[in-house]
Symmetry: C2
DNA sequence: TTGATTATGGAAAACGTTTAACCTAAAAGG
DNA sequence: CCTTTTAGGTTAAACGTTTTCCATAATCAA
C-alpha cells in the first residue's frame, strides 16, 4: 500500500540500511556520495516520509507530548489557552506533537484517566500536567517510573519535582497589600476553589498581608467563584445580599474580577469609587475590562518554560533548575482607588 | 525495561499468542477457561498495558485523530473551543486520542505544515480540519490518498467531501432580514475576513436579503474585523470617523459584536435605541453581553458530529450523509429594536 | 476400532524501522 | 609483496505486537 524503505532500497539498488542512513543522515561515512544522491533523489521524487510508528518501536521515542487539563472545557479558559499556546510553540519548533488529554475520566467509569492511559500505552514521551485534578498518588507513581513529567502551578508534598510554579502567595500578598495601602480594610478574596493548592496558597498571602497591617481576618469575606463568570457573580451576590461590608475585592482570575465589576455596576456601585477590584493573570483578552488592575503573569512564557524543561528531561539534557517560579506583577489600572469611606 | 507479552507469557507458562488472545478477547475459543484466568490474573497483577506503538505497527491503526486549527492562538477563540470540546468528548468515549496540529508552518519555513506531517508520518488515523488555511490542493491530495478527513465549515470547489457545514448564507440572510423588518435600511456587515469562504457566503446572504427588500447594496457598509475584538473596534471606528450613516450592525462573531457595542457605548450611542446589533455563534460566554442577539449555532454538537463522522469513515462504517449542515437560529435579545430614525 | 471433529494451544511470519555486526575490494603502509 | 586500514556497503536481529497456519490430545460417531 504505502511506500517503505524497502521500495526505496529496491529502486535505488541498495540495501535498506543504506536508505536508513541517508534518510537519517547517520553514519554517512558508510555511504558513498553518489549512492547518497541517488537515494535522496528517489526519496524526493516519491515524496517519501518514514513511518513514525515503526521508527518509534525501535527508537522508543514518539516525539509526542501529552498536555493534561482537567476537563476539555478547560481549554475554554484563557489561562490554559495561553499556557498551551506557549507549550505548543516550543514543541513544534522542536519537532514534537501535542496530545491533549484529560485528567478526569469519562463518566462511564473508564479504567484509568486518559492522561495515564497515554503514558501507559507509551503514546507519549512525556507529560505536562496543567491540572490539579491528577491525584498525588498517581503523579508520584509516574515519577517513580521515571516518566518525564512537568508540573505546572502545582506541587506534590515532600517531593521536589520538575515544575513551573506561580508565586501564588506572593501574588495575593502584593495585591492585598496594595489595597491596604489604599486604606482598604475590608477586602474580599474571591477565590476559585479551595480544593486547589493555588487558592490555599493565595489565601496565605492574603492573610499575611492583613496580619502585617494588623487587620483582623474575617472569614466571611472569603468566597469561591469556581473560576468562572457566573458562579463568581453568584458568590458576590450572596455577599451583597447578606449586607457584608467591604470596599475592595481581589479575585483569583480576571474573568472572575470582571464578573464582580459587572455585578457591582448592575447594583449601582461604582468601580473604583465605591469598590476597588484587582484580578489575576492579566489576560487582557477582554478589552471590556481595559481598566482592570491585575496580577500579571507571563502565561505564554510559562508554557514555553514548561515545554522546554520537559524536552530537556526527555533528552537527558542537564536541567538548570528543578523549579522555576514566576512572580505575578501588579499592573495598576483604573479599577483601584483610595478607600474614602470612614 | 518495561513489561511485554513475552514476560506475561513466560510467567503464565503459555505462548505469546495466547496472551494476545486473552488481552484482546479475540479467538477466545482457542483458549481454555483456566488458561484465560491465569493470564488475566497476571496481567492484572503487573498492571500491564500493551504497547500501543507495536500494536499500531501491525494493525495500522493509531487510535489517534488530528484536529487542525490555523494557529495555536486559535484555541483562544471560543468558537474553536466549543467545537474541539465536542470533538474531544466523542473521541474519548470511543477510545481515541486527540492531537492538536496547526495548518500554518512554524515561521522557520518548515517543510510541510504540521497537520500534513502528522498524516504523512502515519501518526493519526484521520483529520478534522477546522481551519480554512489548509490549501485546497493539499486537501484534495489527502482525499485522493483516501485519508479520512472531515471538513468543518469549509468546502472544496467541485468536490463533495465529508463535511460539517454551517449555513452561513442563510444565517446572514435571516439576521439581515430581521433587521430589515425592524425598518433598518443601512445595515453594516462586520465580517471577519473575506479571505474566508464563510464570510463570502455570509455576504451573499446579506445581499440577498437586501435585494429582496429592494435596498441597494452599499459597499461602504461592509467592513472586516479579523474575528477579534480590537480589530473590530478599529474597523467600526473607521466607519464612524468617516461619518458613514447606519442604524444596525450584523457581525460575524459575538466577540466582534461585543466590540461594536462597547465602542458605540463609548461614543455615546445606545444599543438598541440608536443602533441595533446582531452577533454570530451565540457563544454566551461573555455574560457581559447577556442581551446580545445572535445567530445561535450548536457548536459543541457540531464538533460531536464531525468526530462521529470521522470515526465512521475510519472504521468503514456506512456514513449516512456526506454533508451535514447546521442552520443558525436567530436568538432575539435586547440588542435589536425598531429603527426610529427617518 | 477408526476416522473425523473439537478444544486448546504453539510457532513463526509480518508490520517498517534502526543498528550492531559482518563483509569485500581497494588503498595505504611497511 | 604482503598486511592493515578504510571506504562502502550488506545481513540480520531487534523493537512488541497481531494473526495465520499448524499440532496435539481428547472426544465423538459409526
Amino acid at each position: 500500500m504505502s511506500i517503505t524503505y524497502k521500495d526505496i532500497a529496491r529502486k535505488a539498488g541498495v540495501s535498506i540500511s543504506t536508505v536508513s542512513r541517508v534518510i537519517n543522515q547517520t553514519d554517512l561515512h558508510k555511504v558513498g556520495k553518489t549512492t547518497q544522491k541517488k537515494v535522496e533523489k528517489i526519496v524526493e521524487k516519491l515524496d517519501f516520509t518514514p513511518n513514525v510508528i515503526a521508527r518509534s518501536l525501535v527508537s522508543r521515542k514518539t516525539y509526542n507530548v501529552a498536555v493534561a487539563i482537567k476537563d476539555l472545557e478547560d481549554i475554554i479558559n484563557p489561562y490554559f489557552n495561553q499556557v498551551i499556546s506557549g507549550i505548543a510553540g516550543v514543541l513544534e519548533r522542536r519537532g514534537y506533537f501535542l496530545q491533549l488529554v484529560r485528567t478526569v475520566s469519562a463518566k462511564e467509569k473508564a479504567l484509568s484517566p486518559y492522561y495515564l492511559k497515554a503514558i501507559q500505552e507509551k503514546r507519549v514521551d512525556g507529560l505536562i500536567l496543567l491540572s490539579e485534578e491528577a491525584k498525588n498518588k498517581d503523579v508520584i507513581e509516574l515519577f517513580a517510573k521515571k516518566v518525564p513529567v512537568i508540573l505546572v502551578n502545582r506541587t506534590i508534598p515532600n517531593i521536589t519535582a520538575p515544575s513551573v510554579l506561580i508565586d501564588n502567595e506572593g501574588g495575593l500578598y502584593d495585591a492585598t497589600k496594595e489595597l491596604i495601602e489604599l486604606k482598604h480594610k475590608r477586602i474580599v478574596f474571591l477565590a476559585g476553589s479551595f480544593d486547589f493548592q493555588l487558592d490555599k496558597q493565595r489565601l496565605k498571602g492574603y492573610k499575611k498581608a492583613l496580619k502585617e497591617a494588623n487587620i483582623s481576618y474575617d472569614k466571611s469575606l472569603i468566597i469561591e467563584g469556581a473560576f468562572n463568570f457566573n458562579q463568581s457573580a453568584t458568590a458576590l451576590g450572596g455577599l451583597l445580599k447578606k449586607k457584608v461590608k467591604f470596599s475592595a475585592i481581589v479575585a483569583s482570575d480576571d474573568v472572575m474580577a470582571l464578573a464582580c465589576i459587572n455585578l457591582l455596576n448592575e447594583r449601582g456601585y461604582k468601580v473604583p469609587e465605591d469598590i476597588s477590584v484587582i484580578g489575576f493573570n492579566d489576560m487582557l483578552l477582554l478589552p471590556l475590562a481595559s481598566s482592570l488592575s491585575s496580577m500579571k503573569l507571563p502565561l505564554v512564557e510559562l508554557g514555553r518554560k514548561a515545554a522546554t524543561m520537559l524536552l530537556s528531561i526527555i533528552n537527558n539534557d542537564p536541567i538548570k533548575e528543578m523549579e522555576v517560579i514566576f512572580k505575578p506583577e501588579l499592573i495598576k489600572r483604573n479599577s483601584i482607588g483610595i478607600n474614602k469611606k470612614k
